[in-house]
Symmetry: none
Subunit: 418 residues, 2 copies
């Protein structure tokens, strides 16, 4: 099944917003065997919206729109599409009452201008949107079908997953485009390509794409237009082959996050975790605590930005004086101190120079020292990361998580160890 | 001057790539007074490319394409556009020799398949691309003009900046599209709209757009097609009017981050800052330390995830037992304790339930308690945030930064206080 997507918003064309909905929609639909054959972005303008939707209907008879369903005067999608189908907008008291009741439950009042979000083109199917105030609207007519969705990403994705895809899947004939990602870290793209070169001829009909991101390189394997079972089996086999060759550089075959893998590795070994961060400034703790259920493994962290706080944690002043705050000795002392202080089993200490200021020939911007402490002692690693302050911090955070993960795996009492 | 953009690539439609070029192009062009009136994404398919370009030419007589100029068989933009204008492709030896010489200089060989990148529609202007192998191509004819650019982001942006914008600027008559954002937090979109309703009629020729993000609502004022000085003055005046009405809900008129504003407010008042975070798990510290130069204000933070760590910081066990970890008393004690322990002037303590588990009728998911401590004592606030774990954490982080910022402003010894 083919369809077109029309994303609506002057901001999209001005480039003040990156159209992440478009990518997300493409993935979610192709995953169900539905192909997006064209995507058009138009401003918040009735005529432009109507023209783009009408052309899309002429080509595929099915259009999904996102955006322009809000309560303000620049939200005109509802009117444009209703007019295109020659349908009047009708106020539906039930929608309005449900909205009011929902707001009342969380102790908030709903503004009167939201009333327009209870207006529906006559005969349209209303798709409930528990995450926001604008329901999705599914209009059918001679010209084809239009599904209008709100532009707020979590509202759009909720409606697509719960309301749109289940209805469309029935029409897609059982073939899918499916992909699986093999997530790597600690190895640059060119070295990765060399390591797996001998495997590439064995991958078709799957394709493989290299996606370098801040946290490493994702390898995306894709199966095109195959029956679901066949696609899944091929993808799983190929992911396992890659993992065998790449070893500890692969931290997930699937959408997994390294912090989640670390928590699992600790949990199965009953290891309690703590962190002491300087240049990463809370990012390691934030990555870990982003995972639901992290509290049964993660004890806590310290962001030891000022030297006085490093000392208060238990880093001896003589170490800071003799070697400086960014040094192997400080990283090791941070890890050991936070492990003891927080009664954790496994801990990391991180100290470095994220930039843009503060670098020197001896200690350049991007230099980061890591200490990993467990019952066996403290291990240290030095790394110089390229890029901006943001990039150095993100890369150092990933490296710290990777170091902790490998240390946990090697501690040997869990099911995943060798 | 109006034009349309056509981005080309099957990967874009499948959603495996986010179309960052589109946003970048929108910004770069509007900054020079050129308006992108529509953007279309099509797969690597001759007919689809030709149709999208032809429709764009009919509407605006000017189209910029990105992508599909590479050396592989799925790169068909060159052929599609040449055919549309009825022009033959001609191999230009000079381009090929220059490419070979460039590769020889960096010790690499150029594959024969790159020869097609030296093919040019007859009469096209060739735009040199020192960052890659595909030059830009500018074709003119009866139907209008098409500029073909490569899809690699840094090649595209280099060509636009160095070759396209300078040629187009001359046509835009010195008029620009410029915008300014007024960043608000702590007030929902609908309430915001009511508060500024009386101002909206005074804003034209500027337009205003509401952009709800996790951290609040951004109001984007835009001046269309005006001389630069005039645009800047109107934008500044309007931003000031909005700020006057919205008061402390406006934390920046411009691209400013709330963490940066907080650091400035503290710096000018010589306040040193510390944080104790439970449910936000390091995000507040990470937002603060993302700002270069934060170390002269920010002392450090604690991520007090486990109760034992809250106690170690100095939250009395009897408070945790009597009121629970998520309580007004614990938030206040966290703030006071980290302020004392870290010898800071201003501190926040945050404790809450981010979900997805752990909620109850009395303490629902999304409930967060905040304590803000300074020399005058501790102030507490309760808030229930909607959304997922990620959203609750991001919103609570913004609320904590906002609370700290207002407390800093009210401490009265800096230039920004009343």
């Amino acid at each position: 099944m083919d369809l077109e997507v029309v994303t609506i918003g002057t901001e999209l064309l001005l480039g003040f917003l990156v159209d992440t909905n478009a990518a997300w929609l493409g993935q979610a639909l192709s995953e169900s065997g539905i192909r997006v054959t064209r995507r058009t972005s138009v401003p918040d303008d009735r005529a432009a919206i109507a023209e783009a939707v009408a052309l899309g209907l002429r080509r595929t008879r099915f259009v999904i729109t996102s955006g322009g369903l809000g309560p303000t005067s620049d939200d005109v999608t509802r009117e444009a599409v209703a007019a295109l189908f020659g349908l009047p907008l009708e106020f539906q008291p039930a929608i309005w009452e449900e909205l009011q009741a929902r707001f009342a439950r969380i102790g908030r009042a709903l503004a009167d201008r939201n009333r327009c979000q209870a207006e529906v083109p006559r005969g349209a199917v209303v798709l409930p949107n528990p995450r926001g105030t604008a329901p999705g609207l599914w209009v059918s007519g001679e010209a084809g079908e239009v599904v209008m969705l709100p532009g707020v990403p979590r509202e759009l994705s909720g409606l697509v997953t719960e309301e749109v895809v289940p209805r469309l899947r029935a029409r897609s004939g059982g073939r899918v485009v499916r992909s699986r990602v093999v997530r790597t870290t600690g190895i640059p793209e060119s070295r990765l390509a060399e390591r797996i070169a001998h495997l590439e001829p064995t991958l078709p009909p799957l394709t493989v794409a290299y996606l370098p991101i801040l946290e490493g390189v994702d390898l995306r394997l894709t199966a095109w237009d195959l029956p679901p079972d066949n696609a899944d089996r091929l993808l799983l086999d190929a992911a396992e082959k890659l993992q065998e060759v790449l070893g500890e550089h692969v931290y997930a075959t699937g959408e997994g996050d390294l912090a989640a893998q670390l928590l699992d590795a600790c949990r199965s070994r009953r290891l309690r975790l703590a962190v002491a961060e300087s240049c990463t400034g809370g990012l390691i703790a934030a990555r870990i605590t982003a995972i639901p259920g992290s509290s049964d493994v993660f004890v806590g962290g310290m962001v030891t930005y000022a030297d006085q706080v490093k000392e208060a944690l238990g880093v001896p002043a003589r170490i800071l004086e003799a070697h400086g705050a960014v040094s192997e000795e400080t990283a090791a002392a941070l890890a050991a101190a936070v492990r003891t202080r927080y009664r954790a089993d496994l801990a990391v200490g991180v100290t470095g120079i994220a930039g843009p200021g503060g670098g020197s020939t001896e200690k350049p911007i991007g230099l980061v020292w890591f200490g990993v402490a467990d019952g066996r002692g403290v291990e240290t690693r030095r790394h110089v990361f390229p890029g901006s302050r943001h990039e150095v911090r993100a890369r150092a955070t990933q490296f710290a998580l990777w170091s902790l993960w490998r240390r946990a795996l090697s501690s040997g009492s869990g099911p995943g160890s060798q």
